[in-house]
Subunit: 92 residues, 10 copies
């Protein structure tokens, strides 16, 4: 089951930098772990923004939410989720 | 070079149905042709909407515009284009 | 799997009234058929608008799209879909 | 009488964490209390967001406001309220 | 029970003028009938727009929807409904 | 002369609570004073939000601004003002 | 009493051109008549748009609405009205 | 050359009040200086908001930007600039 | 004097094709004429949209409006104009 | 390859002024360096705003993102990127 997830990152300018470093490191590890599990087949950086475009492949909406809300940076993410299905013109 | 293209389709209710059928058939053929050429690696239907989420892989912005504006349904498409680059956490 | 679907209906003022009647009748039958199948557990009219709030219970996103795009009035619907999961404070 | 309530939660990053814990615990208790009273028949988490979709069943608008404004997290909630009525195609 | 209803009127330029006249006359009669019934205590014209600001006093949301959707001009109205309750600083 | 005033209240979470209490008390007194003067005939709480819907009856725009900007909570108010006139279908 | 009025003009492409010419001529005459009466002290064209910025000087909101709704092109105007008062830093 | 400038003022609630007082005094002096130079022919307060509507008369866009960015309160202003030209129906 | 002009083109689907062809030819000639006069130094197509990004170099706002409103396609253009001035970090 | 980049700058009012000075100096040097490299052919200040309009000429989207995200002020920039291609009416 596939979802498009468009994530904008907003980091308060007065956040504790050490705390932020820990979060970013954990975020990177978590994102790579999920990619290796095949849950996160598409991960792109939006050019010019602190934002990403992702395609997530999960078994259920519950799993989708667990995945996203488990991201260490979740409190600083504004995520727009779009459920996607097979396009009638899709060529395999 | 990759672009996210989010296309919303709006078809006037009083359009000539035969003309529309011809356009839709040509659209499908054109989309599949581009997919076979490797230009259109991701094509999804947005659940619940006459809209799609696409990832286009092209050599230049010129080619991107030629590809999109060559779509027979182009006059009925509202396309939001987002240039994407490699994400620092991307796992190959 | 549950989705919130918020549907706004826009009917062109110059549509053929007989065609519209047929569509509305078919829409009603289709909606009731889906409710009887347990796919459409919540269907509310938004007070003051030609719009509805629905909760759809389906097996997959594919089924969600088939259900919505099979609605006879689909061409006149603007549908906002929100994937929903169990709330941590939910009491059964 | 039914209302759709769509709640987005925004928590300032520099809030006192103990205060926040107390609020969240109280929020959970209050929400479950209202559910047991039958006032809050639908409570869903929006996948990917710190937000919920709720259906509230109350006797009056006054009661609706008392219910929502009594939520400990009310100062951090942006709530969109939609009054709902029976849909003509609703099947009991 | 009180609702604020903000109605914007959009009339297609190519509508049949006789049909429109009939609708407007019926609209005026219906609005005055509802006012005499005490259902429509506040009805204002928004200066500079074909729009109104209304306060409706009804027994239920069902009645609210019946009232609004019974307006002959309903197909040409975009109505924003806001449920209102007593303000803590209100002086009787 | 009547104006609709829709006020959304946003209170910074880290405001000094004693200062806030003083402001809220002064706000309440000021609002009730203006109501007793007949300047504020309609004051409603928007259900589910820290917001109000008001109708103000003043002699001039100057007076309208003095009234609103004199509110102790003015710095925390986002006010949308709509000038209103008699509706042609108004029944006295 | 002064109001800012920002008017966007939208003319349907299939409108009868003779009817439009009559309306535009009448509009011009009406606008100049109101200017000569001192009601319309500021009238500017927005560069690059079929839109204007106006300041209207009237005795009441009722007069404001009569003035604007009497414009022959009123059905094709989207008008945003802003009540204005004397600025504390204004130099006479 | 005339520009409409619509300025919304947003002052952080935790700003140093003495600093703010100095800025506001300097702002007032600067605004009056520019008015006396004939650069700021129209300055109105928007009723109910900490905002103004201004017409600026300058020799060039460079001068426009110097004027606006020289305002002591510039960091707290959100300014929407609209270039204006003579309206064809303008009566001198 | 430089302005950014962002133009979105919307062509009604039922427009007379011959009339449209004439307009497009005239538009192209007019745009090229203005470019040769040095009035239109930057003209780009927005990739994926029937829209352009232009920089116009004119002597006055009056000339800007004459230029834009003289475009044969003006009735089908939605133009957003941004006045621009020299950037302090600009390198000649 | 050309991109339009529209950058709005938002600087928190309580930022450390020395840190800000260092960032602004570095920003200016970086911007001028990129201009000398031919990467930043167009750089304009938006009149009346702390914002700029830029045209960037790069070899790839990757380079575009490196360029923009390397700007010292990147954390305080909201950048809207528009890919541009040759316009069919462009005169060389």
């Amino acid at each position: 089951m596939h979802f498009l997830a468009q994530m904008e990152v907003t980091i308060p300018h007065d956040i504790d930098t050490e705390k932020l470093e820990r979060l970013l490191t954990a975020e990177r590890e978590r994102a790579q772990e999920l990619q290796r599990q095949g849950k996160w087949p598409q991960l792109w950086r939006v050019a010019g923004r602190y934002a990403n475009v992702s395609v997530l492949d999960v078994e259920s909406i519950d799993e989708l939410h667990e995945l996203l809300s488990s991201l260490p940076m979740f409190p600083f993410l504004d995520i727009k989720v779009t459920p996607m299905t097979r396009h009638p013109s899709k060529v395999d």
